[in-house]
Symmetry: C2
Subunit: 114 residues, 2 copies
DNA sequence: TACTGATATGTAGACACACAAGGTATGGAC
DNA sequence: GTCCATACCTTGTGTGTCTACATATCAGTA
């Protein structure tokens, strides 16, 4: 009924996840918080998007999981980048820059002379 | 089989189309050419994406079609923005800027102190 | 004791949309 | 007469995000 648009552009979630665990392992819940925080409250990652994405990335061998105790004293699944995950991250960052620049060019294209 | 990734991020095609006909009506085929050109060969709009998108936008009342003779002397369907299409364009440009900025923030987030 | 809220993980089903692959037709060049 | 660029279109498929739901633990509090 409402015109609610999807929060994330399809294809960018993987990039966000990989980037967020670039420097240290995090569990899913913390990733979502971290992304919300670093995006200054703009990007909300839904749990129904996050967990399937994590499993997908794990199946692809880009991240690995390990159960550890979180700060909260509760067990949580910490994910970290694999070597190929790191390569993938670099590629996806590159592609994003390229893509965003291209869109920008279209949006700023000078009006054509009639 | 090949790792061919999708050329366009889902959700951005409408924006590209609306922007491309902002200042003058164009037919579908020409839009694709124009987007390819203004994006400096980065963004390729497939016909199988373009035409359904045009029909979608027309159904939503954001654009209107009119058969006219093209430069090529052949009949072609020229699309132009409606008033609500113009509003939508402004909104989508806004949202894109907001979104791209947010991604950028995540990608440039300073490493957390351990 | 029972409750509430934040933490933490997960699944099932719906839906949107870009894609590949196929098709039709016309006009100009050769 | 054949080929290519132009111009339109549809069908089916896959991917990925969303909503909604289910489960469990722990801390604080009434």
């Amino acid at each position: 009924m409402d015109l609610k648009r999807s929060d994330l552009l399809q294809g960018t979630l993987d990039l966000l996840i990989l980037k967020t665990i670039e420097h240290r392992p995090l569990h899913g819940y913390a990733m979502a918080q971290r992304i919300l925080e670093t995006s200054r409250e703009v990007l909300t990652v839904q749990q129904g998007s996050l967990y399937p994405a994590l499993h997908r990335l794990e199946r692809k061998g880009l991240i690995t999981a390990e159960w550890r105790e979180a700060e909260s004293k509760r067990m949580a699944k910490f994910y970290s980048l694999t070597a190929s995950g790191r390569t993938q991250l670099a590629e996806e960052m590159d592609q994003w820059q390229r893509y965003a620049r291209a869109i920008q060019w279209v949006l700023q294209a000078p009006e054509v002379a009639s």
